[in-house]
Amino acid sequence: MQNLYDSEKNGDFEILSIPEIGLLENIGLRAGTKVTVQNRYVFGGPMLLRVEDTYSVAIGKDIAVQIKVAEVGTANKKTPIAATVRKSVTI
């Protein structure tokens, strides 16, 4: 499990959990949504996501760090071992 903000550019991710921000869910980002990271802006700027390969959303760093994601394909493997492995890889 990693946070969205630190996920690599052009990668495809599935959202595992989001912070409690009403607009986030309303705009279509919730657990299970697939996103592609398009851009990350320097100096603490936002990041740009392609949501479900349909539309783009820009999202501030403060929110992005609170969103937990997994690379697409790994989202369903929730065994502790897999999670530990992933962690050691990302660090």
Partner: protein, 599 residues
């Protein structure tokens, strides 16, 4: 507000009310215009309609000609509101209506369906307009409208509203929906589908997102299509490279069109025309039956009403206003502005606002009133107050910009970029100071970036016409009032008396001729009127620059004061107004005092 939730069972014919709802940026405002003939302003980004609009639709229901009230509800993603504008939508639904038109974006069905499903929880019949099917097609998405209708238990009409496709069918459907027979049936159907979970036809149960996803999967197909040139350009515009160079080019183009074009219209076309024909005509006309004296001077003297109203309004202000809206409306419809918001969010955040607020600042260059109303979409009250204050302090409206350009360019061209830089500096300062003074939090950015589009020519021209008409209606009267006051002050000699009293401030501190006090007086009514009188005086370059600076920072006009009171209460309005005046006089005076040392 919605204390007594009144339901129209449909039998009641008077007070038939239809709500127009949908996600932001799905074309609701265009539907509103097409259905009512009233021109709502629409743009290609979320949240143009912050205060709702009301109009009348002509329908034939049960063989009876009816005038039905249609309400353009602000766009909302959900009925669980997250901003001031969105809560308006929820309140409308709670207040009840005879029917709802829900506009869906065919190119983004899943999210739009979430709202569609939420609407079913209310006891109100809905007709769905599946809009933007042309855009969806270009993206390889096809939606089966009939199937979707079956899923939603209501009619779904495919539309391309900017081209009026599907409009007639939508009207027919509304007529059926409002007919006596149907209204009775409908409420039964709805209660069966949502108030009773056991009888619920949707497989996803009460998780509306899941249901929306399910339905989308069943009714639509997506094929991979290559990204078009506009898509690629849109992607490029939002990346630092080539986005920032593109922003610089766009900025340069705006200045070239608005400033260069405006200057051309003013000096080469309209100015000479007025000097050579219009003014002499009125001089001749009034001289026929009015003897020489004060009255004749008030009408056609140096400051005569018929002289300055043409020189100031027609030659000096209109060309810039027109060209600004030519450019700005295009940018709005294209979807470029949200890209700028994202691109510069990091910089804007450093001065205390979100990148999203750049849109309000850009609107403010047209007029502060719609900018302040638009800022209702801001995500926190602090954000709203900071950007409002910064606009009031340092962003000149377009008519004032026109007047400033004329004033500065009469002396030397370098004053224009200098004043521009000073304005940017002061905007930053105002925003930083307001950010420190006002308590609260600036929320992180969270916006949808719309597709980059080529504006639809008809919709674009209509919007431009609406804006110009709006300007003439809104601005003409206060401008004329200011001009009559100017004429009376000058031609009756009252100005000399006032000038004596204002001398310590105007002449000693600001270093301007005492007569310049006219500008300070008129500037209370309209911003450009604080500049225009300076054009009639013989100033030195320093005086022109000081005058321009004071005017730039001076009080926002009466209309802005009005909207400040309405949106934020009198205390905020008074604070902003008084501090702008003091700030303007302080900065102007400092520039004068320093300037004097070097001359």
């Amino acid at each position: 507000m919605s204390g007594g939730a009144e339901r129209n069972g449909g039998a009641e014919r008077n007070g038939v009310k239809i709500l127009l709802m949908g996600n932001p940026n799905v074309g609701k405002s265009v539907f509103f215009t097409e259905l009512t003939g009233v021109h709502a302003i629409s743009s290609n980004y979320a949240g143009t309609t912050v205060s709702y609009m009301e109009g009348e639709v002509q329908l034939t229901v049960d063989g009876e000609q009816l005038s039905v009230k249609l309400i353009d509800v602000p766009g909302t993603y959900s009925l669980k509101p997250t901003s001031e504008a969105e809560s308006v939508a929820a309140r409308f639904m709670e207040g009840g209506a005879s029917a709802v038109i829900c506009v869906l974006d065919a190119s983004n069905l899943e999210r739009n369906l979430h709202l569609a499903l939420e609407l079913r929880r209310y006891d109100i019949p809905v007709v769905y307009a599946l809009n933007l099917i042309d855009v969806a097609e270009r993206r390889g998405i096809s939606v089966k409208a009939k199937l979707l209708g079956a899923e939603l238990g209501a009619s779904v009409i495919p539309t391309v509203i900017v081209k009026k496709q599907g409009l007639d069918e939508l009207k027919k459907q509304l007529e059926t929906l409002l007919s006596k027979k149907n209204t009775a049936d409908n409420s039964r159907n709805i209660s069966a589908s949502c108030n009773d979970c056991n009888a619920c036809p949707t497989k996803g149960g009460c998780d509306l997102w899941k249901t929306a996803k399910e339905i989308t999967r069943r009714v639509s197909k997506k094929e991979g299509v290559g990204r078009s040139f506009l898509d690629k350009l849109g992607d490029g515009m939002i990346k630092p490279f080539p986005g920032i160079p593109i922003a610089a080019v766009v900025m340069g183009a705006i200045i070239a069109v608005v400033v260069g074009g405006g200057k051309f219209l003013e000096e080469v076309v309209l100015g000479p025309l007025i000097d050579a024909f219009v003014v002499p005509f009125f001089e001749w006309l009034f001289a026929l039956f009015i003897p020489e004296g004060m009255l004749l001077n008030i009408l056609v003297g140096e400051y005569g009403i018929f002289v300055i109203s043409f020189e100031w309004i027609v030659a000096l202000i209109l060309p810039y206003v027109f060209l600004f809206y030519v450019v700005f409306s295009f940018l709005e419809d294209s979807g470029y502005l949200p890209r700028i918001s994202v691109l510069f969010d990091n910089i804007m955040r450093k001065i205390g606002v979100q990148g999203g607020s750049l849109i309000y600042a850009a609107m403010g260059f047209g007029c502060a009133v719609p900018a302040i109303i638009g800022s209702r979409n801001a995500t926190s009250r602090k954000e709203r107050l900071v950007i409002t204050a910064a606009i009031c302090f340092a962003i000149p409206c377009i008519s004032q910009t026109g007047a400033l350009i004329s004033l500065m360019s009469a002396y030397s061209w370098w004053m224009i970029p200098t004043l521009g830089l000073l304005g940017m500096f002061l905007f930053t300062a105002a925003s930083l100071i307001a950010g420190k003074v006002i308590k609260g939090k600036v929320e992180p950015l969270l916006i949808e970036v719309p597709n980059l589009l080529m504006p639809e020519p008809k919709a674009y021209l209509r919007k431009l016409a609406t804006r110009m008409k709006h300007f003439l209606v809104e601005a003409e009267f206060p401008m004329m009032v200011a001009i009559v006051i100017a004429a009376l002050l000058k031609e009756t000699g009252a100005i000399d008396t006032i000038a004596v009293h204002a001398a310590p401030l105007v002449s000693h501190w600001l270093g301007l001729p005492a007569e310049a006090v006219v500008g300070l007086l008129l500037g209370i009514i309209r911003r450009e009127m604080s500049v225009a009188p300076l054009l009639e005086l013989n100033l030195t370059s320093l005086q022109a620059f000081v005058g321009g600076t004071v005017s730039l920072l001076y009080l926002p006009c009466l209309s802005v004061f009005g909207i400040l009171v309405k949106e934020f209460k009198l205390r905020v309005a008074a604070t902003i107004s008084i501090s702008t005046v003091l700030f303007a006089l302080l900065v102007g005076g400092i520039i004068n005092q320093i300037g004097q040392l070097f001359i």
